[in-house]
Symmetry: C2
Subunit: 363 residues, 2 copies
């Protein structure tokens, strides 16, 4: 793999700020190996921060916060101000897509998201692509504001959920233990389920293309529930739709770096790295480090994969865990991150400690 | 790997029935490749069967059923009578170990198991190995009854939970989404957590040794939550304790075949197959078949790994899924099973259909 930037990012409002070649995340995603890797954390804007909880109180509901450009911009900036991460990720939620397609969505305090579940392909008529951009306009405005508000050296990341993960919420009506409703649909009516996945590929591609136009310099696609399928169904419902999204976004913005996160894909991470056309893969906590260095890093930039619970625990376990990752993966193109989102119980000072570890010059 | 039985099973009451060399599960676990593989299903005795629900009503609580040798024997036999599986697995629960150690345990209808949670190593004094065998005596009696009651060709499987999975319930007080309490303990107080794991290794080894003496011909150890750790902690809290249990059981019963199920271990399945000293590894649904044939099957017998939700869905997806497994893994030593336990919503006739597929002569 090339050790120098293979391609400049697509021109975007964000390039008004700092030459892209100075941005560490872009350099790492272009295949460059950095002595100190870029670092950001999934859910770095969130409930573990007192300033987030304060803004959240002002906003009303969680969805109100997602759709309020001023406040969504504010909470995106909070962890940048506090910690100086190398990248800021848009504050939003993967379920704004079903919401924009017309599915009723609400967040029950302490219970997570709830949706009016789709019962089968007969319900697909309830979904409508037409008002997509109008309903997502506040998200694009948030990105536009962030492009101006972020420090010059900070990369702006846009994101979306992968079709399978989003579909699972749409069918289960929320989170699920064994995905029985969604999988039974996919197994019993693959054509109908394919129609839902196709609709999500189209909506998600349009959404991400517009995110780039609004200022996103990197995109990440989250397939949080990728790790529940037999391999052939993983290929059909996770890998193929994500690959198609990458293709469609790059048809419009050829140089936008894309990170895929097929969480818990196990040995199938190799196929994602080899075939999806992405620049980065984000590793969950369970991916063995030496295995990733051997099988994934020669093909793509790897990102990850500290256990978020190590960030709750702190102490020597946090230090040992972070150093093991740096030592195993720092030799190739690499982005430091968690293996899953930060949890609300994380003491903010543990995040400072982690940044000290990651950013200390290698001895 | 040898294609003929490498070792005869240990003498046990079960050998009163049929010469062990005629039992398909024992032959497969000895490394033999069978034209038609042995088949059994995790949770094959359970709520999807009307006769189980009837016996369950007579028993009182779920725990009452586990500790009633007559009824536990009855529900173990029900799927053998109905389907003629190659093996019967003791009807019990992995949490009888904490119960036997003195931790309060109850099952809330529809909510799963609840325990009076351990808060830290200060609570280890509440646990006591002394009454272990007395409290587990009904389980041994169930096995003894099964040894006499089972058809001659049916192999009797005993089982236990792996230390990490059992510990997670003991600390979380039930099932968990992110294992925050258990992991925070392990990360923050590894010596205290090691003491709990050591106690569970000791209790589980004694329990399994006694199960063999009561008639179990094969043992399976379930590490249902193995797939949540960074690799070094997987080695310490999952792989090493299971390996130690295998060593201790085999020190007493050298020829007992042992199957380990480190669910969601991903690429780390290889280390289990190479180092744990077991005869079989049980694969979860996500393990790619060609990868398992290449990296695991040359070292151990593999078991698995049909998605239990395919058994709910039925139809062409079930047939395609089952045939893909048979085709990829049937060439080496293999046991057909699910990738996780049967779910209550499974139509019993889909199980018959699956057995027809597995047992049809290869064309």
């Amino acid at each position: 793999m090339s050790q120098s930037p293979a391609a400049a990012p697509a021109p975007s409002p964000a390039s008004r700020r700092t030459p892209s070649s100075d941005k560490t995340l872009l350099r790492a995603l272009a295949g460059e190996r950095l002595a100190v890797p870029p670092v950001w954390l999934m859910r770095q804007a969130g409930r573990y921060l007192p300033e987030y909880r304060e803004t959240r109180r002002q906003a009303g509901s969680f969805l109100d916060l997602c759709f309020n450009p001023e406040l969504a911009c504010e909470v995106t900036l909070q962890p940048i101000r506090r910690y100086g991460f190398d990248a800021a990720i848009l504050f939003s939620d993967i379920l704004v897509i079903p919401h924009a397609l017309g599915q009723k969505l609400w967040f029950q305090e302490g219970e997570g998201p709830k949706l009016e579940a789709l019962a089968g392909s007969g319900d697909l008529g309830r979904l409508d692509l037409a008002p997509l951009h109008e309903r997502l306009a506040p998200v694009y405005e948030t990105l536009d504001r962030l492009s101006s508000a972020l420090p010059g050296e900070t990369t702006l990341i846009g994101f979306a959920g992968a079709p399978w993960t989003v579909a699972s919420y749409m069918i289960e009506g929320g989170s699920s233990k064994d995905f029985q409703a969604a999988k039974t649909w996919a197994y019993g009516d693959p054509d109908g389920f394919q129609a839902l996945i196709d609709l999500l590929v189209e909506a998600t591609s349009r959404y991400l293309i517009r995110q780039v136009e609004a200022g996103a310099e990197v995109l990440q696609v989250f397939d949080s529930w990728a790790g529940v399928w037999p391999e052939d169904h993983f290929r059909r419902w996770c890998l193929r739709p994500m690959t198609e999204i990458v293709r469609r976004v790059k048809a419009v913005h050829p140089d936008i770096p894309i990170i895929l996160f097929p969480r818990q894909a196990g040995a199938l991470y190799v196929e994602v790295a080899e075939t999806a056309g992405c620049q980065g893969v984000s590793l969950d906590t369970t991916v063995p480090l030496g295995w990733a260095a051997q099988h994934l890093q020669p093909k793509v930039t790897v990102q990850g994969n500290l256990d978020p619970i190590l960030l709750v625990a702190g102490g020597p376990a946090l230090e040992t865990g972070a150093r093991a990752i740096l030592s195993a993966l720092g030799g190739g193109p690499f982005v430091f991150n968690l293996g899953h989102g930060i949890v609300p119980q994380t003491p903010p000072e543990h995040v400072s400690k982690l940044l000290d570890i990651v950013r200390s010059r290698p001895s």
